[in-house]
């Protein structure tokens, strides 16, 4: 279990904004090992989004090296990055980003369309398995607008799982959800982490959510300010059970 999934070595990223150079990341180094559940915290302007783009292989660092599953992404071109994203990363977004008027099943199948080695039959089989993993198999023919926010996010998680990535990269995945649903999503994340051994990198600005992870990296002004293991990690299922049952339910 001790193989490095992520290896960041003095990552710097600067953007040219007109005549000024903006330094979004000023030297970020940390490693993430397989099976870890890491949250990345930070206020706006801390370089959180830039780091996320880099981790997601959507962007390349200006300086420093970033290796994902042993592959140095600085050496890859646009198409190779796309292939890497397809094979190694499962994205979960704040706004779910499901295709409208497309069934849950088809949404989950989508990443496999870009993987030429997967046949149509296998694609469907794997998509159903992923939906089962998020407990939405019975809703697979529902359109996104027929699903609640939490269910939509679970479809998105199934989509992130379907290509069996080495890392699930979540960007404020609970940002659009109420507390109860957020806990449900976090419970799912914890389950995927614990029982399936999935490596999860979860970007958030809520300390409440970060408490569910095993390790929190706090960014500030383009640098890692804190990188600590959560001693008293909370269990989302227990939290969920302890939530008062409101009148709405």
């Amino acid at each position: 279990m001790n193989n490095k999934i992520l290896e960041l070595n003095d990552i710097k990223r600067h953007f040219q904004m007109g005549t000024e150079v903006v330094n979004a990341l000023k030297g970020v180094s940390f490693d993430v090992y397989a099976g870890e559940f890491v949250t990345i915290m930070g206020s706006s302007g801390s370089g959180k989004t830039t780091l996320l783009n880099t981790l997601g292989c959507l962007d390349k660092p200006s300086e420093g090296t970033y290796s994902l599953d042993g592959i140095n992404i600085g050496l890859l071109n646009r198409d190779q990055l796309a292939k890497l994203r397809n094979e190694k990363i499962g994205f979960v977004f704040q706004a779910y980003n499901l295709l409208p008027r497309t069934s849950a099943l088809e949404n989950v199948e989508l990443p496999l369309f870009y993987n030429p080695s997967v046949s149509a039959a296998e694609r469907k089989e794997r998509a159903i398995a992923a939906l089962e993993a998020v407990k939405l198999a019975e809703r697979m023919y529902h359109m996104p607008n027929e699903l609640s926010g939490g269910q939509q996010q679970r479809v998105a998680i199934a989509r992130a799982l379907v290509n069996e990535p080495v890392m699930i990269l979540a960007d404020e995945a609970t940002g659009n959800l109420d507390t109860r649903t957020s806990y449900e999503i976090m419970a799912l994340m914890q389950e995927l982490n614990q029982s399936k051994g999935k490596t999860i990198v979860f970007v958030t600005h809520e300390p409440d959510i970060a408490a569910f992870s095993g390790r929190t990296i706090t960014l500030r002004d383009g640098r890692v300010m804190k990188d600590n293991t959560n001693e008293n990690k909370r269990d989302a299922k227990e939290m969920l059970a302890s939530l008062p049952v409101t009148e709405d339910y």
Partner: protein
């Protein structure tokens, strides 16, 4: 990406906005349908002209007198007196490519039967005339060589004349009618031919031996025209050249003198008329092709809107592993599917419409495979051409910006 996956993805994307896909298609549908319909009408009218002219006898060659006197008052062709029986004899003797020849001496006048009368034309001809003009005797008999020799006052009536000077139910055979006071015995009735291409009633005619007409009505030894028929349609040109030679010899024209006659073949007439309809067809097809082009621009426009509207989707697809080429091919496939589907519907619609028009005009149905193939490939080209730029734009989006696009 596999082609099947590409097509699947494109079809799924189009299905999400069926109405818009259909409306975009409509431009192509209308364009293709109009190209095909107009092409079919043009084709059909050419064939129909050919057919109705062939009805006159497709090997028909007409010799008309022509004034070659320079200066002075120019006379109308028919008033020029150059064609004589000598020419007929010469043609019969020397022509190799000519099967039949008949003089024609026409006169207008009033035909009278009892209290009924009718203005018509008497045409003095020989018995070959019927063959040359594809005419046949429906009732009675045609006139003989003997009738011609003896200036017999016998005639064949066209259906229109019969209808106008004989009461219903009366058999005209054997009856005597008068044409400009001269009595003629009716020996036969011609089978109806209807109107020709120029709207003339071909049944409004009386045929009589040319000798009779020349002597008793027009009082002239000259013919208004000579009709001949080539041995086959292909030999029309040779026959025409041969006739020119024979006529020049018969008229003893010097080498530097102009012809004092004009020879017209049916072939030329068909060519002239076809060239007019062809020109019209090309013109209209051109206009229809413009509508196809506008349909293509419609596709481009919608694809642009679609790329902007689906920026977030493009970002998502890129983040889950779509390469630029995958995005490009998907949008290109969408454009091609729209235009090809539109093309197919347009072809079916155009062919259906063409068939309906052909049915109404009683033209023989023709399926023009060329126009189908041309418009079909044109559609594909339009799809690729007008879909490429928006698709390229989509494929070049930055995934980070596309994902954050609102």
């Amino acid at each position: 990406m596999k082609l099947i996956n590409l097509v699947l993805l494109a079809i799924k994307a189009l299905q999400r906005n069926k109405l818009r896909a259909f409306l975009t298609m409509l431009g192509i549908i209308i364009g293709v349908a109009s190209v095909i319909t107009i092409g079919a009408i043009g084709n059909g009218s050419t064939i129909s002209i050919h057919r109705s002219l062939s009805g006159l006898g497709s090997n028909l060659i007409t010799i008309l007198p022509n004034s070659n006197v320079p200066g002075g008052a120019r006379l109308q062709g028919a008033d020029v007196e150059t064609l004589t029986f000598k020419d007929i004899t010469a043609i019969k003797q020397h022509a190799v490519y000519v099967a039949y020849v008949s003089p024609s001496s026409q006169a207008k006048g009033q035909v009278i039967n009892g209290s009924l009368n009718w203005p018509t034309t008497i045409n003095g001809v020989n018995s070959d005339f019927l063959t040359i003009r594809n005419l046949s005797v429906q009732d009675g008999i045609s006139f003989s060589e003997r009738d011609i020799r003896t200036y017999a006052k016998v005639c064949l009536l066209g259906k229109t004349v019969v209808k106008n000077v004989f009461p219903k139910g009366v058999n005209p055979i054997g009856k005597v009618i008068r044409f400009n006071k001269i009595p003629f015995q009716v020996i036969g009735v011609l089978a109806p031919k209807g109107q020709n291409t120029f709207g003339q009633d071909e049944d409004d005619v009386i045929l009589s031996p040319y000798t009779t007409v020349q002597k008793r009505i027009v009082s002239s030894i000259y013919f208004g025209s000579i009709y001949a028929s080539a041995k086959s349609e292909d030999l029309s040109d040779q026959a025409s050249k041969e006739l020119t030679r024979i006529m020049r010899a018969s008229h003893r024209l010097r080498d530097n003198a102009d012809d004092d006659f004009v020879i017209r073949t049916q072939e030329e007439l068909i060519k002239t008329l076809s060239s007019i309809t062809n020109l019209l067809t090309y013109l209209l097809t051109g206009i229809a092709a413009i509508s196809l082009l506008i349909g293509g621009i419609g596709i481009m426009n919608i694809m642009y809107v679609s790329v902007v509207e689906r920026t977030k989707e493009i970002g998502l697809r890129m983040s889950i592993g779509a390469r630029g080429i995958d995005i490009l091919s998907q949008f290109l496939a969408e454009a091609v599917i729209i235009s090809v589907a539109g093309g197919l519907i347009g072809i079916i619609l155009g062919e259906g419409l063409g068939y309906m028009i052909f049915h109404l005009l009683k033209w023989p149905p023709v399926v023009n495979t060329t126009s189908i193939l041309v418009s079909f490939s044109f559609c594909t080209v339009i799809g690729v051409f007008f879909g490429y730029y928006p698709a390229l734009k989509a494929s070049r989006l930055d995934p980070i910006e596309a994902l954050r696009y609102e």
